[in-house]
């Protein structure tokens, strides 16, 4: 241990020594973070000893880490001592009918084409028995259980399937991987767990929508997906409806484990509150997502549509360990007003004949900043590996910024890496061509942008894709001129 580390270690444990005790009966922890708080969270969730130890180790590591500065984002650093790291899941206030919901929000729902039932669910309106999402969820769960598929909240998995959680947690994103991942590991609130047994093709798209109690996973969400040999699953996270949260900092972790010949598709639509037109408020979204193709011929595919959050820091990555394994990253990141996004992927080629494909479409409007950051690393053993990257940026107006930071490291001679990048401005002549046909300017922009992002949107499951298209249009309102 280096001297610096020693000092930090001492400091960390001293902090603990002088820490105060937290009342286990309390509904929420006092603000700030120390080992007692970690113990409190773990005790509240009635976790086994090993998990508490795992959290504590993560916490101690986190103490020694500093917030990363390398990303192309600027924001006032969160005050970690002011954050409340645990509060009991609140019952959402029941609302009698949609008439009581903010009309602005309803308008947005309507324009996104979100069904009435879904609108009620999202706003917390009590739904009638037939359409109760809980009952839908239950039948759905039964169907999955028959095939041995496990799909439940993370907390439930810790209780029901501790051996699986223990085996895989932190196996893809170690608890000391980075500042935010370490923080998440120490204090994660809840999230999803998904297990597909050997040879099973999950018959439906798994979406958090169907998961019971998915609503209040809190700001430190954790997801773990394990796909055994020859299995397949398509997983959907998030929704197009605007999500608001009183917690400004969100630091999630997603881990995917794909065994031999398994395939996992992970699709995200992220639409957290981006802040207002003047850049006030908005969510900080600092996410670590990583998958490992552990076995030969495994495949992991990330598709993301990022439109929300004030600040996004997110690099869904693939470790291609198995020979012939494949990784894909399809991304649309849209920023408007004062939003900042620094997003991209890492493709780490370890196995022979591994393949990766990156398609990134950045769209920036207003005064926003949009960066693509990617790493393609081909190790000496990863002979005959291939990567293709396409990174396109589209600018609306002249006050926004688009940046690309592609890093390429190829350590053998038989591999091939191709990188293409373009930056373009949305053309006035394109807009005029549309308006001349009767399409108003806002719709013209939406049409052109959707066309531009088509390759990525096509990767989304059908219903999701339709909603995502509307979402892009909505996000870009007022972005030109």
């Amino acid at each position: 241990m280096s001297k610096d580390d020693q000092i930090l270690e001492e400091f960390a444990s001293k902090e603990y020594e002088h820490g105060w005790n937290v009342d286990i009966e309390a509904d929420s922890a006092p603000p700030g973070l120390n080992e007692d708080i970690v113990r409190f969270i773990s005790a509240k969730k009635e976790e086994p000893e090993w998990l508490l130890e795992w959290r504590l180790k993560a916490y101690r590591n986190w103490r020694k880490m500093v917030e990363p500065e390398w990303a192309n984002i600027h924001y006032p650093k969160p005050k970690f001592e002011d954050i409340i790291y645990y509060s009991a899941p609140k019952q959402k206030k029941k609302i009698e009918s949609l008439d009581d919901v903010d009309p602005e929000l309803l308008k947005t729902f309507e324009r996104l084409g979100i069904s009435l039932t879904e609108q009620k669910r999202l706003t917390g309106v009590a739904v009638d028995a037939v359409m109760d999402s809980v009952s839908v969820g239950t039948t759905f769960k039964k169907q999955l259980a028959e095939q041995g598929i496990i799909f439940c909240s993370f907390s439930e998995a810790v209780k029901e399937h501790p051996e699986l959680v223990k085996k895989y947690i932190g196996s893809v994103v170690p608890s000391n991987d980075n500042f935010y991942a370490a923080l998440n590991s120490a204090v994660f609130s809840d999230g999803s767990f998904c297990y597909i047994p050997k040879g099973v093709r999950c018959p439906v798209e798994l979406s958090t929508y169907f998961r019971i109690n998915a609503a209040n996973t809190g700001q430190f969400e954790r997801t773990l997906i394990v796909a055994e040999e020859d299995s397949y699953v398509s997983y959907l996270e998030g929704c197009t409806a605007p999500q608001r949260d009183e917690n400004q900092l969100h630091a999630a972790v997603v881990e995917i484990y794909a065994a031999k010949s398994a395939e996992v598709k992970y699709s995200t639509v992220q639409n957290w509150f981006p802040g207002d037109k003047n850049g006030k408020g908005g969510i900080y979204n600092f996410v670590t997502k990583r998958g490992i193709c552990a076995g030969d011929y495994a495949k992991i595919s990330w598709t993301q549509v990022e439109t929300g959050s004030a600040v996004t820091w997110k690099y869904p990555s693939c470790i291609l360990k198995g020979d012939h394994s494949q990784g894909e990253f399809y991304s649309v990141a849209v920023t408007n007003n004062y939003q900042q996004a620094d997003t991209g992927t890492k493709m780490i080629h370890l196995g022979k004949n591994t393949k990766s494909r990156i398609v990134s479409k950045g769209v920036s409007g207003g005064k926003s900043q949009n960066s693509y950051r990617g790493l393609v690393e081909i190790h000496p053993r990863a002979e005959n590996s291939r990567n293709f990257s396409q990174c396109d940026s589209l600018l609306m107006g002249d006050q926004c910024g688009a940046h690309t930071f592609p890093y390429i490291e190829v350590k053998n001679k038989s591999s091939q890496v191709e990188h293409e990048a373009t930056t373009s401005k949305i053309g006035e002549d394109q807009i005029f061509y549309c308006t001349q046909r009767g399409i108003d300017e806002e719709s013209a922009v939406a049409l052109i942008v959707n066309g531009y992002c088509k390759e990525v949107l096509n990767k989304l499951p059908m219903e999701f894709a339709v909603e995502a298209q509307k979402l892009l249009a909505l996000t870009l309102e007022g972005s030109v001129g």
Partner: protein
Amino acid sequence: MLSIKNLHASIEGKEILKGINLEVKPGEVHAIMGPNGSGKSTLASVLAGREDYEVDKGEITFKGKDLLDLGADERAKEGVFLAFQYPIEIPGVTTTNFMKTALNKIREHRGLEPLDAVSFLTLMKEKMKLVEIDQSLLSRSLNEGFSGGEKKRNEIFQMAMLEPELSILDETDSGLDIDALRIVSNGVNKLKTPDNATIVVTHYQRLLDYIVPDYVHVLFEGKIVKTGGKELAKELEAKGYDWIKEEAGVAS
């Protein structure tokens, strides 16, 4: 239907149109000819509402409405259509999708329900026949990688879909092979009704053999310097523009 009075328009401070007067009535076909750079496309763009152009003087009324008050999309909804001299590429957007969006916007303006998928496809099939355009072309990204002729044919297909009251065809004939010219012209003729009007901008008499104009105007240095019947086009074809330039020179 369309009335242009003393229209002056400029771009980036440079005056291009210098007092245009033109009256177009329903059912009429007007041809506009004139040397390169005389302002034909500028006139078409100003009519269609392109924002880069500044209208400095004059007025344009269309169906009794002040056209200059309307944005480009509103003009299109009112029935103004421009077949572009250089159609624009829009990657990732198919002609089909483009037309569906446009048509439904125009229908919405007219208080009509959006067309459902089946009726839309039926309509599309019908209009495709009119200009003998292939389905496969319509499923590709709009104008992207289209040949010159395909782009022009696609413009007329769009015109057929939107059924405008005033169509402005800016050199639609250039780039078309001999057969395509006949097919596209026939398409335009079939779309003619007593209620709609067409302005064709062209350099060649040949097109006017198919689309027979009621009037031929010669635009020179931003002004209409001569107007005649269809025989004027023949005369121009034979003699070129010099004599017109001279006449104009004498006149001014």
